[in-house]
């Protein structure tokens, strides 16, 4: 009896999870191994703001209970960092020195929060929100009714921002280029959106850059943010939501083409026949634009995961590279996006 086909997925986010699920649906006999740096199974990261609504047990956020993986024969390798992919030998190497051979590899490692370079020296004073534990840290560090100073304010950040407002916190938003990322907006496009935010009670600071963050040792609020115009703003927590940056160093030996992300065909296949990519890490060939483009947003990501899985199993479906990219304020004054749907 031949060895079952081994599908390895790097990343257990929306793309990875979706791919795994799809692979299993499409091939009951294959082996599926999913690597993630996370400690817990897949949960929708966009639901992290719910911790402010009292959903502080991570289990409440899971897309599927842990048993799902065992029931579906999906090996979920958590806290595993892939450090190398050998594209010709078809082996994934993990940070802890384990090597895992694959027949097909789907890279859905996503991206990490991007921090503007001028703030990188202050990263330790900035609360992240990329994981449940980061979210919990914010939750724990933020006094009831306290203030969050948010730098940037991408679509993920805005979700949190709105939730914070809903739950009685205060937010100061320091607007920058990545505000409303991944939507790329002009100043005009951005104005009504900011207005809507102000309307919800957000302190919006425009035309000023945060240049320094200092802790207020023992004092409250805990953070002081210096702006380039000389102003200083205080907050209990400083957060930066400036979009995502991909981490593709581990793919350098994978015999795949890399630009900022992994370059894939519309079918999400990389230049290595055994390797696919999906989600925030990949740049998909837009034949019209003759360019590889990122397609962020959870809806896109989910689609990519399932699509990649199908294609791995033999389908040749292309990704719709022309998906709608639009953001607006609806009649209720809520910000809406074709990429992001906020689910309170």
């Amino acid at each position: 009896m031949a060895e079952p086909h081994h599908h390895v997925i790097i990343g257990s986010g929306s793309a990875g999870f979706g791919a795994a699920k799809t692979l299993r649906e499409g091939d009951p006999d294959c082996r599926i191994t999913m690597f993630t740096m996370d400690a817990i199974p897949f949960y929708h990261r966009y639901r992290l703001p719910e911790v402010f609504r009292g959903r502080t047990d991570w289990r409440d956020l899971l897309a599927k209970p842990p048993s799902f993986y065992e029931e579906n024969g999906i090996t979920l390798r958590r806290r595993c960092r892939v450090v190398d992919v050998d594209g010709s030998a078809h082996v994934v190497s993990l940070a802890h020195q384990e090597t895992v051979p694959f027949d097909s590899l789907l890279v859905a490692a996503g991206g990490r929060a991007y921090l503007p370079e001028n703030l990188s020296g202050h990263a330790h004073l900035i609360h992240g929100f990329g994981s449940f534990e980061a979210a919990m840290r914010v939750y724990n560090d933020l006094p009831r009714g306290g203030r969050v100073v948010m730098i940037g304010g991408d679509m993920i950040g805005l979700d949190l921002l709105l939730t914070l407002l809903d739950t009685g916190y205060r937010v100061t938003l320091i607007v920058n280029a990545q505000t409303f990322w991944p939507h790329e907006l002009t100043a005009e496009q951005r104005a009504p959106l900011l207005e809507a935010l102000r309307g919800k009670g957000v302190d919006v600071i425009e035309n000023a850059r945060a240049v320094g963050i200092s802790p207020q040792n023992g004092g409250a609020p805990a953070r002081r943010v210096a702006l380039d115009d000389g102003r200083e703003i205080e907050g209990d927590v400083v957060m930066a939501f400036c979009g995502l940056a991909t981490s593709v160093e581990f793919m350098l030996r994978a015999e795949v083409d890399i630009e900022r992300g992994l370059l894939v065909s519309p079918e999400l296949q990389t230049t290595n026949d055994a390797i696919w990519a999906a989600g925030d890490i990949c740049q998909i060939w837009h034949d019209g634009e003759k360019a590889y483009k990122f397609y962020h947003g959870w809806k896109n990501v989910r689609v990519m995961g399932q699509l990649a899985a199908r294609n791995i199993l033999g389908a040749h479906e292309p990704f719709d590279v022309d998906v709608e990219d639009r953001i607006w304020v609806d009649e209720d004054g809520e910000i809406q996006s074709t990429f992001w749907t906020r689910k309170p």
Binding site: R79, A95, Q97, E98
Partner: protein, 600 residues
């Protein structure tokens, strides 16, 4: 078990040489120092030296627990190769701690992370690196993880540091310092790590009377021996009794006693009997294979009426069997082993506290009845730790000896037939009472003679009768519902912990049940047993052997039927299995027709 209180089981798994057991040792001592009740159990490798598997399991709780749990809450891997098969024992949302910075490549599945179930929470850390950073050596990985656990669960670090300091007290100061550094480094690594697990360590219970001490069954035996005035010890290494020897090697000389590692078990029991003859409170400890070797000399002890204390920690058998696995299959050997009618006292404590008490009284009993006393425990009890609250030290202190009196001109009758069968015993050095002890049947003077064989046999049996009522010694005890019950669970030895846990669970389910432990296996407390059988519609005897040796002993002695639950699974009896049997029996006894059909 009070669910609101702390009840956590740690497991540390590694290779021999990783310091696994030491690590567990520190953990349990620290936990005990914190005031928790502790039950712990180490699993050793059968290999003499090298890379065998070691697992140290430590259950800490705010209330007395009676057995280890089948699932651990926190699991530390110091060696994935060994840990992988055991990672499954970690409960959902329990923690698995491991090194995620291996130094040598492993194939797929060679790292524990490949085996952690999705509901278990992985905690990887560069254990080796941290150790090397802290101490310039990887040797302290076992201490690093302790620090990590302490940091992770926010346990009081000082308790650990104290225990570490004690543990390495005999080594150069740098060793302690280095281990403290390793601990602190681990502590640092663990502190602030976000926890996805739900392992909750509550406040320690308020301290009970007296100082709580962490002991293994073996350690408790050693302590009991020391308090009971042990003067000499003869041992031969055998798993799982070795640690009794090793500990006494250190402690006995401190107490002015004499310790000798003999050339074999036969020599060990021989010297024990010899020393006992000379009036020394002497003991030896062994396991089944050793006890098998000792039976002949035990018979001599019985015949010559020489006190001796023999610890037998059972392991899997027969023959070499499963040296590092627990079992309760030496009962026949302990109670009946040897040639001829050789009655002896066999005491099988059910927990560490019991080990301590039985060992403390063993010499007094042996000397009173002038017979070898077997302390029958098993690997599970030998190696498991529990918090014990030792008695006032004087409790077991030897009572002054009464030198027999002989009338002028009369011969000293060493084996004089008395009403209670006990003859006053002279010791070498006592003037005017020279006699020769012998394995031959003898007359009252001790001279070889077959004339009184029947009487002497009767004497040797009869004199033990009162041992079941030996003051201060629990020879049997009933727990749970008193009066008439549906199901009685009768047990002995270490398994009684699981039985008790089972009984609590069954009671919680509304099953009318009661549990009884029998500590003295020879002579049997027959009266108490009969009463128990009278009260129970059905009696279940779970034990870790294939034949139902205790069931046979009891039913043979009192002539009542029992239901057997026998497992030889190389591990303690799972509570779940006893429970399911109890449920089945409870249902059965309440359905008379079915019960009748079952023919129980």
């Amino acid at each position: 078990m009070n669910k609101s209180g702390t009840d956590i089981q740690f497991a540390i798994c590694g290779s021999a040489g990783d310091g696994t057991i030491a690590s567990g040792d520190i953990m349990k001592r620290a936990a005990a120092a914190m005031g928790f009740h502790v039950i712990a159990f180490d699993v050793y490798p059968p290999e003499i030296r090298g890379f065998g598997k070691c697992i140290s399991r430590i259950r800490i709780s705010s209330e007395q627990a009676y057995s280890l749990k089948e699932q651990s809450d926190v699991f530390v891997s110091l060696n994935d190769g060994h840990a992988i098969p055991h990672v499954g024992e970690v409960r959902d949302y329990g923690a698995v701690i491991y090194d995620d910075h291996l130094i040598a490549p492993v194939a797929e599945g060679g790292h524990i992370s490949a085996h952690i179930r999705p509901a278990q929470i992985p905690y990887g850390l560069p254990i080796r690196q941290i150790s090397e950073q802290a101490t310039n050596a990887a040797r302290s990985r076992n201490i690093v993880v302790l620090g990590y656990v302490a940091g992770l669960l926010d346990l009081p670090a000082e308790a650990f540091r104290k225990v570490i300091a004690q543990k390495f007290a005999s080594k150069p100061a740098v060793v302690t310092e280095s281990n403290i550094r390793a601990f602190d480094a681990g502590l640092e690594a663990g502190r602030g790590v976000f926890r996805y697990d739900d392992v909750a360590v509550g406040a320690a219970p308020t301290a009970a009377d007296g100082e709580a001490v962490m002991m293994t069954g073996n350690g408790a035996i050693v302590r009991g021996f020391l308090e009971g005035g042990i003067q000499s010890y003869f041992g031969y290494p055998i798993t799982p009794a070795t640690s009794i020897m090793e500990r006494l090697a250190v402690e006995l000389p401190k107490a002015g006693g004499r310790f000798l590692q003999t050339e074999d078990e036969i020599a060990a029991i021989s010297a024990t009997i010899g020393a006992g003859f000379a009036g020394s409170r002497a003991a030896t400890a062994t396991s089944g294979p050793g006890l098998a070797l000792m039976t002949e000399m035990m018979g001599l002890g019985v015949m010559a009426e020489v006190p001796a204390v023999v610890v037998c920690s059972q392991r899997g058998g027969p023959s070499t069997g499963l040296p590092t696995k627990t079992e309760q299959s030496d009962l026949n050997l302990a109670v009946h082993g040897g040639s001829g009618d050789a009655p002896r006292i066999v005491i099988a404590p059910t927990n560490v506290e019991g080990c301590y008490r039985c060992a403390g009284m063993a010499f007094e009993i042996a000397e009173k009845y002038q017979v070898p006393v077997v302390l029958l425990i098993d690997l599970y009890l030998s190696n498991r730790y529990e918090t014990v609250f030792p008695s006032d030290k004087n409790v077991f202190a030897p009572k002054p000896r009464e030198v027999p009196k002989v009338k002028e001109g009369e011969d000293y009758k060493r084996f004089v037939l008395t009403e209670d069968g006990i003859s006053p015993r002279a010791l070498p050095g006592d003037a005017g009472m020279m006699y020769t002890a012998t394995g031959l049947e003898h007359n009252e003077l001790g001279k070889p003679s077959d004339v009184l064989h029947m009487e002497m046999n009767a004497k040797r049996h009869h004199k033990l009768k009162s041992a079941v009522n030996y003051p201060g010694l629990t020879t049997s005890k009933r727990f749970g519902d008193m009066g008439k019950v549906d199901v009685g669970i009768l047990g002995w030895g270490s398994t009684f912990g699981e039985i008790l846990e089972t009984m609590f669970e069954a009671q919680a389910e509304g099953i009318s049940c009661s549990a009884m432990k029998v500590v003295m296996l020879s002579p049997l407390p027959e009266g108490e047993l009969r009463a128990f059988f009278d009260d129970c519609k059905v009696v279940l005897v779970p034990e870790l052997n294939y034949q139902g040796q205790f069931a046979n002993l009891v039913s043979g002695a009192i002539g009542r039927p029992v239901v057997r639950l026998n497992r030889t699974i190389a591990t303690p009896m799972p509570v779940a299995e006893i429970l399911s049997e109890v449920r089945r029996l409870a249902a059965e006894v309440n359905e008379p027709v079915a019960a009748a059909a079952g023919g129980v």
